[in-house]
């Protein structure tokens, strides 16, 4: 027989004025199993808690119902108090006499009866409560950051400076990401390379950071604090330890006409190459698709010339498995290509370029050394048209969302162009100018007012070539829809920001959710913006949604703080409100029949398969098992299970049934 104590709180006048607390306490004495019932002015006060603790000891209580305010308010308080009196904290439940009764009903018999009812229900529940213990999960204090752009670098540095090990995985040969491709950055127009390169070097030299460039995540197992991540180190065809980065191989490589990804196809590179001069690490890779040796079996010029003998033609990809405690995704974005717009000629014209290509044209380290030359014939463009929202906010052909960064970088592009070609004319076609950010609107105003960039509010319906010019046909909607025709030398499309190549596959590998457009989904759009639904996996930057640099960096530091917080303990402590699959002696083993229809009901991928094996190792039965490290305790699987093999601790079938049968 249970020995339950009921403690009814007046909450001063808050409950006491509407509910006859003394009467409630009296009525509760008659509930079977209640060994003690008392009312008190303020249960949550120190004397109130002390009184409760003494009563627990004196009356040898094994369960407590505190009838006071909302459990969302004081449940932790009272559970702590109960624990201090030597009773398992999960043997304490709260009846909500204040928010759900005294504050919302009129004083009277019915309200007092309702108060007693609320208590009665929980007394019955408590009879079925089990002592629960916090779940402890050990934590491996090494983080993995996937993506080595500015976001990933920031996360890695912040975690490393917090004293924890970080593995920074980047799929291309160098860290730096898109930011390393930019010429200048808005709204300050400071050189992108100049501010990024020191960070790249810092990351490379940090004792707590291990760089894994030219590497990709292949497989992720485990759960928060205990991931096992398999990384594919793609073969650079080079012994990185021997290579000094002298660059002789690059100079002498005979194959020099390969389209250069870093320059967005506007320049060329060799078959053995580093993506850009400031690359970190400054070690080349061999592009085996274009290398003469891999194509014809002859050449090996680089191998002959390498002073340290570092070239390894026979080198193969390597798989490395790492123990990781937390993962941060910072895989960035890609731009929509210019060839998806039929009205703009499918990008057939070389002089219709995207924003990133313009960055390379404007960059001092770019293919034109920063001199404005249009790609088709190298002439200085006299008139340039910039088209914002190319593909963004376009339900019919593009993506419905706003790409967020284009308003700003288009203003920047127009300014950069005007700074380089003083006599040139710059036009911007836009839908709305979204320049919400510190110094952002001022920046756009500067482009319009000081640099004389002509902003035309309207869409461009068509671009066609005529006599060596690009005829841009549009409308000026602020002039009553007046058609506008501009004969331009170059057109820059601010194409939509899209989720990066392979992000859906990566999301599936990591079991994180993603939206229709392949952007990773945050756990809560407002309150948990840097977390994913999978515990221990966090987000930074444009892999979640279009983001600019300051936002990416801020979010990166946020994600890093989450990781450092997670790593501040040896063990993770989690509320034991988790689902459990029942276990029985052989031959049943469990009520679970292994239909796994619950699998897709779990928002957290916490349901695993567990094989029951005989002594000879033969699988007798396959059961569902719920990983307590991943389960968040929603109970959706419990309601899905036909055999009632799954139950939720703290809200078990027996507890709820008992409550229902008391109503």
């Amino acid at each position: 027989m249970s020995r339950i104590g009921v403690f009814t709180c007046h909450c001063g006048e808050n409950i006491g004025a509407t509910v006859d607390c003394a009467k409630v306490a009296e009525m509760c004495k008659d509930i079977p199993g209640v060994a003690y019932s008392v009312d008190y002015k303020y249960m949550c006060s120190d004397p109130g808690q002390r009184m409760m603790q003494e009563a627990i000891k004196e009356h040898k209580l094994d369960g407590v119902v505190v009838a006071a305010c909302s459990p969302r308010m004081h449940e932790p308080t009272f559970r702590r108090a109960v624990a201090n009196a030597g009773v398992n904290p999960y043997m304490c439940e709260m009846a909500n006499l204040r928010e759900h009764c005294s504050w919302v009903h009129e004083k009277g018999e019915a309200t007092t009866h309702k108060a007693a009812d609320l208590i009665r229900v929980l007394v019955e529940k408590i009879k079925h409560n089990e002592p629960l213990f916090p779940i402890k999960v050990p934590v491996t204090r090494t983080a993995m950051v996937i993506g080595g752009g500015v976001g990933g670098i920031q996360v890695a540095l912040d975690i490393a400076n917090g004293g924890h090990k970080v593995v920074l995985v980047e799929k291309s040969p160098s860290i730096g990401g898109h930011m390393s491709q930019l010429s200048e950055t808005f709204p300050t127009l400071d050189c992108s390379q100049c501010i990024l390169t020191p960070r790249m070097v810092e990351a490379a030299q940090h004792p707590n950071i291990t760089l894994m460039t030219y590497s990709e995540v292949e497989k992720v197992d485990g759960f928060i604090g205990n991931f096992k991540v398999t990384v594919r180190k793609k073969a650079r065809k080079l012994d990185e330890k021997l290579c000094t980065g002298c660059g002789l191989c690059i100079q002498k490589c005979p194959n020099k006409k390969i389209s250069d990804e870093f320059n967005e196809g506007l320049g060329t590179r060799t078959a053995i190459y580093v993506p850009f001069p400031q690359a970190v690490p400054n070690k080349p890779v061999i592009d085996t698709l274009n290398c003469t040796f891999y194509k014809t079996g002859k050449c090996k010029v680089c191998e002959k010339l390498c002073p340290t003998g570092a070239i390894r033609f026979e080198q193969e990809d390597e798989l490395v498995t790492l123990d990781i405690g937390a993962i941060v995704l910072a895989t960035g974005f890609k731009l929509m290509k210019t060839d998806v717009f039929p009205e703009y000629g499918y990008g057939k014209s070389k002089d219709i370029i995207d924003g990133m290509q313009f960055e390379r044209l404007a960059s001092a380290s770019g293919p034109t050394s920063g001199v404005m030359k249009r790609p088709s014939d190298g002439k200085e463009p006299e008139t340039v048209v910039f088209i914002a929202c190319s593909g963004s906010r376009d339900r019919s052909k593009g993506v419905p969302y706003c790409s967020k960064i284009c308003c700003m970088y288009t203003a920047k592009h127009a300014m950069l162009y005007k700074h380089k070609v003083h006599s040139g004319k710059a036009y911007v076609f836009y839908m709305d100018i979204r320049a919400a950010g510190k110094d952002y609107d001022e920046f756009v105003r500067r482009a319009i007012e000081e640099d004389d960039v002509k902003y035309i509010r309207g869409r461009v319906s068509k671009i066609y070539e005529e006599d060596g010019k690009l005829v841009v046909m549009g409308a000026d909607t602020l002039m009553g829809g007046e058609p506008v025709e501009i004969r331009a030398d170059m057109v820059v499309l601010a194409t939509a920001v899209q989720s990066n190549e392979g992000s859906e596959e990566l999301a599936q590998t990591l079991h994180v959710s993603y939206d229709t457009y392949g952007f990773f989904a945050e756990a809560h759009p407002k309150l948990r913006p840097v977390e994913t639904n999978t515990a221990g996996i966090f987000l930074a930057g444009a892999c979640q949604a279009p983001r600019d640099i300051p936002e990416t960096v801020a979010q990166a530091s946020g994600a890093a703080a989450k990781v450092v917080g997670l790593f501040s303990n040896d063990e993770l402590t989690r509320e034991p409100i988790v689902a459990v699959v029942n276990r029985l002696p052989a031959p049943a083993y469990s009520h679970c029949v292994g239909c796994f229809l619950c699998l897709s009901a779990c928002p957290y991928q916490a349901i695993e398969q567990e094989e029951i094996k005989s002594r000879s190792g033969e699988v007798i039965k396959t059961l569902a098992r719920i990983n307590p490290g991943l389960c968040q305790g929603c109970g959706t699987c419990v309601a899905t299970c036909r055999t009632k093999a799954i139950d939720l601790q703290g809200f078990s079938n027996e507890q709820i049934y008992a409550e229902l049968m008391t109503l």
Binding site: M73, W103, P603, G635, T636, V638, L648, Y657, L663
Partner: protein, 145 residues
């Protein structure tokens, strides 16, 4: 003279939205009728239809099932799963001839204190007008209690 009929209303609510919304009703001191008894579960996803059946079994005249609005689920998708379950459950109950005017599904967020009061009042009034769910009580009476 028999006492006027007061319906018994059972509400199943999720901890994070509707329960919190009902807390807000309290902190806002918005009054509503006291017929309802609230049963708290973590998520609408946890609400097994067995619970609704048992509530009817125990003589509930009206039932409220409520949780987070779509997209707002604390557990991301528990409410979406619940919604599907209710869609099928509702149709099954209709086929069985259960009076579905007595079961109300709703979304009440943690910010909708006034809406909770309104919902409870509406359901209470509606069920009071319908009278006791005697059809169901009869068959319970026919069993051995």
């Amino acid at each position: 003279m028999a006492e006027p009929f007061e319906p018994k209303i059972t509400a199943f609510v999720c901890n994070w939205c509707t329960y919190a919304g009902a807390d807000l009703t309290g902190t806002s001191r918005i009054k509503y009728q006291s017929n309802v008894r609230v049963l708290r579960v973590p998520c609408t996803g946890r609400i097994d239809y067995m619970m609704v059946l048992k509530a009817l079994h125990k003589g509930a005249d009206g039932i409220i099932v409520s949780g987070c609005h779509p997209n707002d689920c604390h557990y991301t998708s528990g409410n979406y799963h619940a919604r599907r379950r209710w869609m099928v459950f509702k149709k099954m109950m209709e086929v069985m001839g259960v009076d579905m005017r007595r079961i109300t599904f709703s979304w009440v967020s943690a910010a909708e204190g006034a809406r909770w009061a309104q919902l409870v009042n509406e359901v209470t009034d509606q069920v009071r007008a319908l009278g006791p769910y005697s059809e169901f009580r009869q068959i319970v009476g026919a069993g051995i209690e």
